[in-house]
């Protein structure tokens, strides 16, 4: 038995001149929830539709449970799917909607009724059997969608922005409900979203996409702490990008030249002296202190250009030799506009990013 429940191997899908999926390769483990995360139009839905069979890829193969399904039509792929617009059958009651996949499979009537009841219980919608979709709230409709997708225990659950038509509070609530269900049933799930918070909260692993390419695949922590590209860093959380030049590559550190100052960063692949790179760090990892005494290693001198009070933290823009560095501090110490400060970039929080790297995962 293959370790992978779903494999997209080197998928390319074009619409006219638009390359919606550009050599996408994704492997999803059994029982794992993977999110496809990326801005609008990056090709998430296209990739998902290659899994469902609604898209036939121009190049590449699709495997589900070890079987090549590239040429298998949608209705024989045994999938469950939850749609952004719910896509319930408006002429059927809640019960009939959830029963539909079982009815299609010509399952026994009493068996059906039992499974439908179980599924409705799973999504906490008992007592709504006789309602029509339009008589339900958005959240309830999406629960029906979830029950319909899960009722026949498909191998794979696919969700295309299932929560984006719900309000913020309900979204958060349903997010955990979906995660909980997915774990209890141990079902493999692919979740499409453009909401990075949702992706980080839900996923076992995240695939970040941009312009039809997969930029990085990893756990939420890996994606957040070790973004592979500038795009990934920028898309998830706040980022500082400081132009730098590689001075020396040593076994346990890389020395960078930032506006004439020396900064040490952890070792990084494929860097060599003389290379122009970006020094990446999260604003809340940077520390400030008043410019007094000698500078310590990895400290550079700067001037506070702008400060904003955000309630639980301060947000500073620091001018470091003409480069703006954003810093967020929780400390009690306040700095005023125009004040000279030392900006400390902790060695272990620094990352080196090659700006030229655009489509790393091929």
């Amino acid at each position: 038995m293959s370790d992978w429940m779903i494999e997209l191997v080197d998928i390319t899908k074009r619409y006219g001149n638009i390359v919606a999926n550009d050599h996408v390769t994704l492997r999803i483990r059994r029982g794992e929830l993977m999110t496809l995360l990326g801005p609008s139009g990056c090709g998430k839905t296209t990739a998902l539709r290659c899994i469902t069979g609604q898209n036939i890829p121009d190049e590449g193969r699709v495997f589900i449970d070890g079987k090549d399904v590239t040429d298998v039509p949608t209705h024989r792929r045994e999938l469950g799917m939850v749609f952004q617009n719910f896509a319930l059958f408006p002429h059927m009651t809640v019960f009939e909607n959830v029963e539909f996949p079982l009815m299609i499979r010509r399952m026994d009537k009493s068996e059906r009724a039992k499974l439908v009841r179980d599924a409705l219980k799973l999504v906490r919608l008992e007592g709504y059997e006789k309602h029509y979709p339009r008589q339900l709230s958005g959240g309830q409709q999406q629960r029906v969608g979830l029950a319909r997708a899960l009722v026949y225990r498909p191998k794979v659950l696919l969700l295309d922005e299932p929560l984006s038509n719900l309000d913020a509070k309900l979204r958060e609530e349903m997010r955990f409900e979906i995660k909980d269900l997915q774990q209890r049933l141990g079902i493999t799930a692919v979740y499409v979203t453009h909401d990075q918070e949702e992706a980080l909260a839900l996923s076992d692993r995240v695939a970040v996409m941009n312009k039809g390419c997969v930029q990085q695949v990893g756990t939420p922590a890996e994606i957040y702490d070790h973004p592979a590209t500038k795009f990934v860093a920028d898309f998830i959380g706040l980022s500082d990008f400081i132009p730098a030049k590689v001075v020396a590559v040593e076994p346990e550190r890389v020395v960078l030249d930032v506006q004439g100052e020396r900064i040490a960063a952890p070792p990084s692949e494929s860097v060599s002296p003389g290379l122009d790179v970006l020094l990446f760090i999260r604003p809340n990892d940077v520390r400030l202190r008043a410019a007094e005494g000698d500078r310590q290693p990895n400290e550079i001198a700067g001037v506070i250009a702008k400060s904003t009070y955000l309630g639980d933290k301060f947000d500073y823009r620091v001018d470091v030799h003409g480069v703006e560095v954003r810093v967020q501090t929780h400390g009690a110490e306040r700095f005023d506009n125009g004040q000279a400060v030392y900006v400390y970039l902790p060695h272990e929080r620094c990352r080196i990013i090659l700006e030229s790297l655009v489509c790393p995962v091929r």
Partner: protein, 278 residues
């Protein structure tokens, strides 16, 4: 604050009252002539400027049925309407599907071409049709009169069905296929029930159009294909207003019946589905 609310409430009530008044006027305007005919068809010795007949009778209906041969006329009307509805629907389903769901170059041009028979004056159009039918020996045949009716029934059907099919949510059909339904089962379990109300209302439209059609029938009918509207018109010429009124009532009944039947079939709350928001 309170007074403002009361003021608004009063305004709202006034608006409601106005709406009801309008509705009542409209109702009277539509129903009064109808009532006059109804009374006329049952009244006896009703002359001069009296608003109400002094006596009632069923004689005019007996006359209408025997003298004007209503059973055969009704049969003609229904057969012609049936053929016209069938042909129109068969034309309109594929055409409406193409116009509603596919990107077709020159869609507007096609649409207005289809509507052309409805734009030009019916009598002019009917004259042209009669000239052609005369040459094709289609005058005074059920199929001939029905084909003439199709020219004005089909545009209705196409219009109604293309918007029905346009409103069909592709994503719901995709959901069915992800649920495991092949094309055939998707069609029978999802597509058909969703478009059925549209098809039914197209049938109502075309049926009543053909059933009530006068001008086109007048130019294409013959002794074997007299329809109710034409028969009623001829009765006016014969000068018996009471009989004509009775005929009109007979003409109206099946229309009302069809409308009522189909109204019960179509349950609006099932039709508007999907999601709130976007």
């Amino acid at each position: 604050m309170r007074t403002l609310r009361q003021y608004l409430q009063a305004l709202l009530n006034a608006k409601k009252l106005l709406a009801y008044t309008f509705l009542l006027c409209f109702f009277l305007w539509v129903t009064t002539p109808f009532l006059m005919i109804l009374l006329k068809s049952f009244g006896r010795n009703w002359f001069g400027k009296l608003w109400f007949p002094p006596e009632f009778t069923l004689d005019w209906y007996k006359w209408a049925i025997t003298v004007t041969n209503v059973p055969e006329v009704l049969r003609n009307t229904l057969v012609i309407a049936g053929i016209a509805v069938t042909i129109s629907t068969l034309i309109a389903i594929p055409t409406g599907w193409a116009l509603g769901r596919r990107q077709i170059p020159g869609k507007e041009v096609i649409m207005s071409t289809i509507l052309l028979p409805r734009m030009i004056p019916p009598i002019a159009y009917a004259l042209g049709v009669a000239q052609i039918f005369y040459r094709l020996h289609l005058i005074d045949t059920h199929i001939g009169v029905a084909i003439a009716h199709v020219a004005i029934c089909a545009p209705y059907a196409i219009l109604v069905l293309s918007s029905t099919f346009e409103g069909l949510d592709e994503r719901v059909l995709e959901a069915a296929s992800v649920c495991g339904a092949n094309n055939l089962r998707t069609f029978f379990h999802v597509t058909l029930p969703l478009v059925m109300p549209g098809i039914l209302s197209s049938i109502i439209f075309t049926f009543t159009t053909s059933y009530n059609e006068f001008t086109l029938t007048l130019m294409t009918y013959g002794p074997k294909t007299i329809t109710l509207p034409v028969r009623t018109y001829l009765a006016v010429g014969e000068g018996y207003w009471e009989v004509t009124s009775a005929l009109s009532m007979i003409l109206i009944i099946p229309s009302l019946f069809v409308l009522f039947m189909i109204q019960r079939q179509v349950q609006p709350e099932k039709l508007v589905g999907g999601f709130k928001g976007v």
